[in-house]
Subunit: 186 residues, 2 copies
């Protein structure tokens, strides 16, 4: 059994601290009584307030239609202890598969959306569709994060960053360069 | 003096290997005889072929108008030895400043665009504007990478990943999970 994190409410205008470093994320969805999970690496922050987040979801993914129709999802950030689950989920298809069960992950009810949080991820961000205008052309979704849950520890999570070809980079040491910043840029 | 990398042509459909991990990048631009550099963290891969890359550039940045008007830029990926330059560039304004000179960086001529590559960055991607339809609403630029230059070494570059509040994560160890992937997903 993997650790289940006790997550706390987290300020929406600070979520860049967990998403801007570029981790692989697990996206949960819910549609017509079923849940799904997909692995995703193509995403970015787009605005502080409202807290906007853009991502690309392939039409090949079973999650695509569930997410497009429900207009909701949860972005969950895993750490290196979930590396096997991240790869397993990315390499399996959800049509008939219960990925929570298969990968031993824990559903935790969200507050604002139908999709569940993943208990074993240290951070989860509940999202509602903000702008779907680029879905037809690029499969590009712009989300508003409406509720953020982050565990107080680890302070410097060992997130996974995908390099392609089956290789990942694991988040390394932290450096603090605050003193070199202008105050208004912090 | 920092090291200047001898970069080689790199396949466009493989650039995700350097951009998907989510590094802080240095964006160079050229307009009306002047160059500029900005630090950027909000970006993502959008397509393999053509090689599409999305990013957000604030209207506060001097580079915004230069890039919007020239419809070109170069995305350069720095490593941790350039941390002071990354922060210094992010905290200075380019109207009258020659950032190459101030930060001791080397202009290298691009092949396809007017903006220069940064010699001290191990990877540089020449970009032409592919779709500017979301610039007015989100300052969101969709680029086609038309030429890629990457140094053969380091194989696992110590890239910088911004956590906000003046803190960075430095790229850590590499893990290879290729054997857990389905072949068609590699």
């Amino acid at each position: 059994m993997k650790k289940i994190y006790a997550k706390k409410d987290y300020p929406l205008d600070q979520i860049r601290r967990h998403l801007e470093p570029g981790p692989i994320v697990l996206v949960t969805s819910h549609w017509q009584g079923r849940d799904n999970i997909m692995t995703m690496g193509w995403h970015m922050m787009m605005e502080f307030t409202p807290a906007l987040f853009g991502c690309l979801i392939s039409t090949i993914d079973h999650s695509f239609e569930m997410i497009r129709k429900s207009k909701e999802c949860v972005i969950n950030v895993p750490t290196v202890d979930l590396a096997d689950e991240v790869v397993g989920i990315g390499n399996s298809h959800g049509t008939r598969l219960d990925k929570f069960r298969k990968f031993g992950l824990t559903r935790v009810a969200a507050e604002e959306v139908g999709a569940p949080l993943i208990g074993e991820c240290y951070a989860s961000f509940e999202c509602r569709l903000h702008d779907g205008s680029l879905i037809p052309k690029y499969n590009f979704f712009i989300w508003e994060v409406v509720k953020a849950h982050v565990a107080a520890s680890p302070k410097y999570p060992k997130t996974l960053h995908y390099r392609g070809a089956g290789e990942f980079m694991v988040a390394g040491r932290a450096i603090d360069l605050r003193e070199k910043f202008k105050k208004q840029n912090l």
